[in-house]
């Protein structure tokens, strides 16, 4: 059967693009971009690190010995540790639903997934104040009157167990989850749409169960798109300011996350403490960017492979 060995089609090199612009315009455009890039991206980053290191290592170490700083880092990590896995599961479920099934309201659902991106984070936080706050819909349960405590078992339970949402961890997690909801789903939907579900069907005819299909076929197929989404989601979760600011109440050692703590430190005395934590957040962002770029590259490769196998 050697005759059946047709060579694998190789892609022709893309034709070289002829640039019509004159050299002068090109130079001006490139310089503009470079100035913009330097002014708005490189310079701020440089300032943050310059300020952070301006008083030397000892000061940096001292900043991290501060109890409030340590607590804010812990709170940020705990919040991300809850919000990111939640959104990973939500995102997977949502992407699977809208790419595998056709149902009325499907495109509306896709738009709704994007909603947190269009809404100001402050509004995202305010939603939860309006629901769980003192004046909110569920306010009487969380801030009960004496009468409420007498009559409502739920209000008594919440009071006795000292359960709080607003100005506490649950509120911060809720607001963060809301703001970061779209990232995993958005990373997966185009990928899963392009891939189709022929491989899953093949697995089914070979006798694989639903869980086996998910773990052995779907998950490897979407791996890099998923990682990309999770990383982006995590970066936003750790850096979120607006939504968290509304629900947290800024209680030091209790409800201050890293971004909120940076603001407080800076307002108290515009010294380097704020910059040290800001630098830490920036390092996190740079690492994220690095991993994101790699994941993006791999996800694109996966997408290309899907397109090739479907041709």
């Amino acid at each position: 059967m050697a005759g059946t060995l047709t060579p694998f089609p190789t892609k022709a090199a893309p034709p070289r693009r002829a640039t019509a612009e004159s050299p002068v315009i090109k130079t001006v455009l490139v310089s503009l971009v470079l100035v913009f890039f330097g002014l708005f991206l490189v310079l701020p980053l440089f300032v943050i690190f310059h300020e952070a290191f301006s008083r030397g290592w000892e000061f940096i170490l001292k900043t991290f010995e501060d109890r409030a700083t340590v607590h804010s880092i812990q709170l940020t990590l705990i919040t991300a540790l809850i919000a990111v896995p939640l959104n990973t599961v939500f995102g997977l479920a949502a992407a699977w639903l809208v790419t595998r099934f056709k149902f009325p309201g499907r495109s509306l659902l896709i738009s709704l997934i994007d909603l947190p991106l269009w809404i100001s984070p402050v509004v995202g936080g305010l939603i939860y104040v309006l629901v769980f706050g003192r004046q909110g819909w569920l306010g009487p349960l969380f801030f009960p009157s004496d009468e409420m405590l007498q009559t409502s078992f739920l209000a008594r339970f919440i009071y006795e167990h000292n359960i709080k949402v607003i100005f506490a961890l649950p509120g911060i997690v809720l607001a963060t989850t809301f703001v970061t909801f779209p990232f995993v789903a958005r990373g997966l939907i185009p990928l899963m749409q392009a891939q189709g579900h022929k491989e899953e069907e093949a697995a089914m005819t070979l006798g694989a169960s639903g869980w086996q299909i998910f773990t052995r076929v779907t998950l490897p197929k979407i791996k890099w798109g998923l990682i990309y989404g999770i990383i982006l989601c995590n970066a936003r979760a750790m850096g979120e300011f607006g939504a968290v600011s509304v629900v947290s109440g800024h209680i030091r050692n209790q409800t201050n996350t890293m971004p909120l703590h940076i603001e407080i430190l800076y307002n108290e005395y515009p010294n380097t403490g704020a910059f040290v934590i800001a630098a830490l957040l920036s390092v996190l962002a740079l690492v994220t960017l690095f991993i994101k770029t790699y994941a993006e590259w791999r996800a694109e490769r996966q997408l290309r492979a899907a397109a090739e196998s479907a041709e």
């Binding site: 059967m1 047709t6 093949a202 089914m204």
Partner: protein
């Protein structure tokens, strides 16, 4: 050995052996929205037969194949395997071997693991031990003459090679029914011809009942024992290639067959 699609009736099993799986399709109707993809389709595939579902694109032939496999469910009608009602069973319970039009190989697994997949996902109690899996996969790769490519990924293979891996993968679970959706549709003419002869030979040596979808009448007439011609979701004619060619049942069959000259070198 058969010759150029002529004198086919001799290949029709006069007394099909009893231990072959037969398929009964009874009054199948299926709609996509308001579009009637299949309307009251009934026919039998006898045990050991190789039957072609022939029709233009959009005729409903692929939908019917998917209903037989359990990948799609009909609103009305029943599917029987060996007179046993499997209408409510999903694809993963029916375990018919299915070869997809675009192969649907697992992109992240190499050739060996693609073929081994159906054995590895079995319940622990039914799963063969590792050496047995290896032996079975190697034997299958030898059958499709791709043993040297076991470590390759699907993207590194040619179309014809991918198709043969798809065959091997479907056969690994030792199905008694083999369903093929335009198995040679994406290949160039030369490879098509080679593979269709190979399919016929393979079908004759293996313990299989096969149903395959094609829009290419040469392919259908050359390979199949019987041809089911389908259009607009309805069966137009069922018969051996000779019967259909010599006595087309209606104008559609006549036109459909005459549109493409029946010539093969």
């Amino acid at each position: 050995m058969r010759n150029g699609g002529l004198n086919v009736s001799s290949a029709l099993p006069q007394n099909p052996p009893n231990d072959f799986m037969s398929i009964q399709i009874r009054n199948i109707s299926k709609n996509f929205g308001k579009f009637a993809a299949l309307s009251d389709v009934s026919f039998d595939v006898e045990g050991g037969e190789l039957v072609a579902l022939l029709g233009p694109s959009g005729s409903g032939k692929t939908t019917l194949l998917r209903v037989v496999a359990g990948l799609e469910f009909a609103e009305k009608g029943q599917i029987f395997y060996n007179e046993k009602d499997v209408t409510q069973r999903s694809a993963y319970q029916r375990k018919a071997g299915f070869v997809f039009q675009h192969y649907a190989l697992f992109q992240h697994l190499n050739v060996f693991e693609n073929v081994a997949f159906g054995l590895r996902v079995r319940k622990r109690s039914e799963r063969p031990p590792e050496p047995q899996i290896r032996a079975r996969v190697e034997q299958l790769l030898e059958t499709v003459q791709l043993k040297d490519l076991a470590k390759r990924l699907p993207v590194q293979l040619s179309g014809g090679q991918r198709q043969r891996i798809a065959f091997a993968r479907a056969l690994a679970i030792e199905p008694e029914v083999l369903l093929l959706d335009e198995p040679f549709g994406a290949l160039d003419a030369k490879v098509r011809k080679e593979l269709r002869h190979w399919l016929r030979r393979f079908h004759d040596t293996a313990h299989l009942t096969s149903l395959f979808v094609t829009h290419d009448q040469d392919e259908a007439f050359e390979v199949a024992d019987r041809v089911v011609i389908i259009d607009k979701g309805r069966i137009q004619q069922i018969g051996t290639p000779d019967e259909v060619r010599n006595a087309p049942a209606n104008t559609f069959v006549e036109e459909f067959l005459e549109l493409r000259p029946v010539t093969t070198a």
